[in-house]
């Protein structure tokens, strides 16, 4: 039986990873709210962010802030391209929902394979943003990276909140999420909003990826677990609810950490996926349902 220290330690790690899931979950919500589409390739943005940053650091010896500032817009650009080349044409043709989901899934596989061809199949990591650590509180170790994750996570959520409440574009996006036809009638360029939502969501994923890479090595196929976990986080939070997604992410991260202690690291994804199924079956509109029911 694991002792208390081990348990608390895993909770600390769980919160860190959970925040990452929360960020990915918010990414799902941003696109879903703007378009009604769930982008199954969301996890690939996390992988791309971490991978791009790692390549910039390793091959070009750039300092981390510069690598960060190049990697995030790069992934946002990939998000834009995905919207323009894959989602938009299907949207315009009125393709069925499942076809769009399938196309985003195919895009994910395609990006993964291209990553194998251009980088390699190996997992990659880079050092923590602040060297040294971990911070010791009694027997519990808190890696410095965790503070970066919490700090950047809070910053991102704060910026998003400002964006959605204080800027014209953010308000327009929210209008689209409430009623697309009405928004269009009010002169909001719904198409441009869709484009914006993909770029924003990809950038969010990229930041999450860069934050998490020092703690968990990223390989070409690391995207799927993050994508699925982010989706679970979004569902727990009641799809489309950003704050709920963040809370859902932390809950899921902690659950996974507990599962690792009890079952061993190998089965953490099985635990997360099983949790997904249970949430879907039992709470299809999220654990915090009633705030903004949007299940279908």
């Amino acid at each position: 039986m694991p002792d208390a220290v081990q348990f608390i330690q895993s909770l600390v790690n769980g919160v860190g990873v959970g925040l990452i899931y929360g960020l990915v979950g918010i990414g799902f919500c941003v696109i879903y709210n703007a378009s009604g589409i769930v982008n199954f390739a969301q996890g690939v943005f996390v992988m791309l962010g971490g991978m791009a940053c790692e390549v910039l650091l390793r091959k070009f010896h750039l300092p981390l802030p510069i690598a960060f500032l190049i990697a995030v817009p790069f992934v946002a650009l990939v998000g834009l391209l995905m919207e323009v080349l894959v989602v938009r044409p299907m949207w315009n043709r009125g393709s069925p929902l499942f076809a769009i989901i399938l196309a985003t899934l195919a895009t994910q596989i395609m990006i993964e394979r291209i990553t194998i061809l251009t980088v390699d199949e190996q997992p990659h990591t880079f050092q923590e943003f602040t060297l040294g650590g971990p911070l010791k509180i009694g027997a519990i170790a808190i890696p410095y990276q965790l503070f970066w994750i919490v700090g950047c996570g809070a910053l991102m959520v704060g910026l998003l909140w400002l964006f959605f409440t204080r800027t014209r574009a953010g308000r327009a996006l929210r209008a689209c999420s409430q009623n697309r036809e009405a928004a269009a009638l009010l002169g909001i360029p719904v198409g441009a909003m869709l484009l914006l939502s993909f770029a924003l969501s990809a950038a969010l994923g990229a930041v999450a990826g860069i934050l998490v890479t020092p703690m968990q090595a990223i390989a070409f196929n690391s995207g799927t677990p993050f994508g699925v976990s982010g989706f679970i986080a979004a569902i727990i939070g009641g799809f489309g609810n950003a704050a709920g997604a963040l809370a859902g992410g932390i809950l899921l991260g902690v659950l996974q950490a507990v599962a690792i202690v009890l079952l061993g690291a190998g089965f953490k994804n099985v635990a997360a996926l099983t949790a997904l199924l249970f949430v879907l079956f039992l709470f299809p509109s999220g654990l915090f349902a009633g705030l903004k029911p949007k299940a279908h």
């Binding site: 769930v38 299907m90 009125g94 929902l97 196309a103 195919a106 395609m110 997904l276």
Partner: protein
């Protein structure tokens, strides 16, 4: 798509042509050597898998992104029972199928109540869970290493000694699978499935027990998938988690959409064409999955009916789908 389905009575040549083509491809396989035989064998296996998938997606208009889970059950069932416990292949084949069908039934009960994105994600999760378990349950599946030394297909004392005999068996099994699917499609059961694809409320109003029929279609798809998995294990003699990974989902969907979803022969034609593709793209082996994904995306955008849609170019002009400004999310596939 429903309107295009022609029963075998109104145009006999239409029904027989695909059989002739399949037999022709098989004959071509028998006269050629090594690699071509393997490719055509795979085409037959994937053809069986896609025929099952077609039941659930094409006829019933539902979506499952996790059929690879049931192929894995079949594959590992056969590998473990035949490879480790020296069972008779036929017995292992049937027991795996029953097991996969049972799992599909139990899992389908809650899962199929979901719709839209949730159904898609839940089924996708099924595939991922199976994949993760097949990696992690080392004692049973030997993890990443996979299971090798699976004996070839056979019944009692008869064992299919070489690849060509295997190819004949696979083709016959595939034709049997297609024949069963045609019989089911044209039955009362199949008509109920197509009614559900058309409109669930309407189907319910006609007295169709929608949940039960969906579940039945799901179980049938799982049975086909399990059979395909078992045959794969026998044909290759080796399986690993990667065989039944997410790439398999994309590959099988490419086949289904290329051949034409909701048609009888579409899955088979698609399987043959998709597996022949790398043959014509030699040197592009590395790019294979990239090409598959791009082909699938292009198909989904420009030709969601696949090759089956080509026929309608020459026949009577079908009604063009009316584009809706609000986008699709709410409609089911294969209307």
């Amino acid at each position: 798509m429903i309107s295009r389905v022609s029963t075998s009575t109104d145009r006999p040549w239409r029904a027989l042509l695909p059989v002739a083509v399949v037999l022709g491809v098989m004959a071509f396989g028998l006269t050629s050597s090594g690699y071509v035989v393997t490719v055509i064998g795979f085409a037959a296996i994937y053809g069986i898998f896609c025929t099952g998938l077609n039941f659930f997606m094409g006829y019933t208009g539902q979506a499952s992104f996790g059929q690879n889970a049931f192929a894995a059950l079949g594959g590992y069932g056969t590998a473990i029972l035949c490879g480790n416990h020296y069972w008779d292949p036929l017995a292992a084949f049937l027991v795996s199928m029953v097991f996969a069908g049972l799992v599909a039934y139990l899992v389908g009960l809650p899962t199929l109540k979901l719709r839209g994105h949730y159904l898609a994600m839940a089924t996708f999760a099924l595939g991922l869970i199976t994949y993760e378990i097949s990696i992690e349950w080392n004692g049973l599946t030997q993890g990443y290493m996979g299971i090798s030394g699976i004996p070839p297909l056979g019944v009692w004392k008869f064992e299919l000694a070489n690849e060509k005999q295997m190819l004949v068996a696979l083709t016959l099994l595939m034709l049997l699978g297609v024949w069963i699917s045609v019989r089911l499609r044209d039955s009362r059961f199949g008509r109920a499935l197509r009614a559900i694809a058309g409109s669930e409320p309407a189907a319910r109003a006609l007295g169709i027990d929608v949940a039960r029929y969906k579940l039945a279609a799901f179980v049938i798809a799982a049975l086909y998938a399990s059979a395909a998995g078992s045959l794969f294990a026998h044909f290759v003699g080796f399986i690993s988690p990667e065989v039944f990974g997410a790439a398999m989902v994309i590959q099988s969907f490419t086949m289904l959409f290329l051949g034409g979803i909701g048609t009888t022969w579409g899955p088979i034609v698609g399987a043959i064409m998709v597996l022949m593709l790398p043959e014509f793209l030699r040197g592009l082996k590395e790019l294979q999955d990239v090409v598959y994904s791009m082909a699938l995306i292009a198909l989904l955008i420009f030709a969601p009916k696949g090759l089956a849609g080509l026929g309608s170019l020459f026949a009577r002009r079908p009604k063009a789908p009316v584009p809706t400004p609000s986008g699709a999310p709410a409609r089911a596939i294969a209307k």
